[in-house]
């Protein structure tokens, strides 16, 4: 095989630190190759209007390969590889290069909210390319002497431009199962906000689905991970495919914060302020990332002032953490019920160190040797 440098996209996000790329994201780049071939054919047809058909072997001997991950958050080195039986790169390579430019240009147009040039049937590939990107992650493409950023929001705009009826995305949804039809291998689920949809029941997750259905009236929730289908108004239509169904802890933090996010201003008999939804997402991600998995999960409640109060009852000690979502500060108070002593700290949850100190303070109570955490607070 002969190889030629073709594209060096840079992946940004927590998952790509240490120059690594999750295997699940590689399938997105496989879609990129499909899109590239189809757009290259389109460019060929534009130049050869006299030909009705594309050569049957148009893409033969040409393929995209991942040659390595270079320095940077995770910089992919994608090369165009040609069959070693070819003495020179095939003529069609120029259409692949034009297709690359068209794809990056489509991303740039979307980022600038300008009209698309690519026909919608090619834009529809963005339904599958970029599907594995999570919130906060992006891919940076070189574009002439500048770069363009492709992220989940830009992807949504591109899909809208493609005017498809439905689009898909990878999702992890917390849901209750209210119905299962074993004869037709399907089940129906309900999200915290009341949205209901249907999915296929497969043997690999049949047991957790049926168990969750039995626990419906006791508030049993499961985490369903897979690819969801949405309509053009972003409404959930159902799961296209499911990878995992996992029972959730009754104190699951994300689920509880989703429930709190449904509150409206005035929720406390006309007076309570509803917590900001973006800030609740932030808190959910922070808990996921920083809260020690060995510690008991907290009970979570909204506060009248628009914050969140986490509480633990640990070995005769009542602990509260009143979180101000606006400035990310948290007032920690632990009351030992047997001797009435209290311990108080202020933690800064916007810093990793704030979470470390919280974990340490809780661990000290768990171990019943309550004293000031070793690090300075």
């Amino acid at each position: 095989m002969q190889r030629e440098d073709f594209l060096k996209p840079i992946l940004h996000g927590e998952r790509f630190r240490g120059h690594t790329v999750p295997l699940e994201l590689l399938k997105d780049f496989s879609v990129l190759e499909e899109m590239l071939v189809e757009i290259a054919k389109w460019k060929y047809r534009q130049e050869h209007t006299d030909r009705e058909r594309i050569q049957r072997n148009f893409a033969n001997g040409i393929e995209l390969q991942l040659a390595g991950v270079e320095d940077g958050s995770a910089k992919l080195a994608i090369v165009l590889a040609f069959s070693s039986s070819l003495l020179f790169p095939p003529d069609n390579v120029k259409y692949f290069k034009q297709a690359r430019t068209e794809i990056v240009n489509a991303i740039a147009l979307s980022a600038d909210d300008r009209p698309q040039v690519l026909p919608s049937n090619y834009l529809s590939y963005f339904d599958r390319f970029g599907r594995g990107l999570r919130t906060g992650e992006s891919i940076e493409f070189p574009h002439g002497d500048r770069t363009v950023t492709f992220d989940p929001e830009i992807r949504k705009k591109l899909i809208r431009s493609a005017q498809v009826e439905f689009w898909t995305e990878e999702a992890a949804l917390r849901a209750r199962i209210y119905e299962a039809d074993q004869a037709h291998d399907s089940f129906e689920f309900e999200l915290s906000d009341g949205t209901r949809a249907k999915a296929r029941l497969d043997d690999k997750y049949r047991d957790p689905v049926l168990d969750a259905m039995k626990g419906y009236h006791h508030g049993a929730f499961v985490l369903i991970q897979g690819v969801v289908q949405r309509d053009r108004a972003d409404r959930l239509k159902g799961f296209e495919s499911i990878e995992h169904v996992t029972p959730l802890d009754s104190l699951d933090v994300t689920l509880r914060l989703e429930q709190i996010a449904a509150l409206e201003d005035g929720w406390l008999d006309g007076k309570g302020i509803a917590p900001d939804r973006e800030e609740l997402n932030w808190l959910s991600n922070q808990f996921d990332e920083h809260f020690d998995a060995d510690l008991p999960l907290p009970f979570l409640y909204p506060t009248a002032e628009g914050g969140i109060q986490a509480e633990w009852s640990l070995r005769g000690t009542e602990v509260s953490l009143e979180i101000n979502l606006a400035d990310k500060s948290a007032e920690f108070q632990a009351l030992n019920l047997s001797d009435d002593t209290t311990t108080e700290f202020i933690f800064r949850l916007v810093e990793d160190d704030g979470w470390k100190k919280l974990n340490e303070a809780l661990r000290l109570i768990e171990n019943q040797k309550f004293e000031e955490p070793s690090s300075e607070i």
Partner: protein
């Protein structure tokens, strides 16, 4: 008021997770102006207080928990019998306390109430 008089507290549904109330339910909120409203349990049952609260006053309650007068006194909290806006109304007075003291006392009151368990659940 006798020391064993139960003071009935309505718990807002937002202040309950998996049946556990937050200690916030036992401290005054912005609307309470340092006074925690309760019903005098010698004058009304837990169930009747819930009906009064949710139907006559049109306020939300997931159920009723209680503190005794003696428990409030043990936390140096004065209980005021103030039959306004209804005859069974009493207030637990948190005025003059710093926030950290209010938080501490609310934890103690919540612990007393949880030990007694729910008196009525909707």
């Amino acid at each position: 008021m006798k020391s064993d008089t139960l003071l009935l507290r309505q718990i807002h549904p937002g202040f309950v997770q998996n049946g556990r109330p937050t200690s916030q339910a036992f401290r005054p909120t912005l609307k309470d102006e340092s006074q925690l409203s309760v019903y005098n349990g010698t004058l009304i049952t837990a169930k009747a207080s819930w009906h009064h609260y949710t139907e006559t006053l049109s306020l939300e309650s997931a159920g009723v928990m209680a503190l005794s007068h003696a428990e409030c006194v043990s936390e140096q909290l004065k209980v005021i019998e103030d039959p306004i806006p209804f005859p069974e109304h009493c207030s637990i007075d948190f005025s003059g306390l710093k926030k950290s003291e209010i938080d501490k006392k609310s934890k103690k009151l919540a612990a007393f109430a949880k030990a007694r368990d729910w008196l009525f659940v909707r």
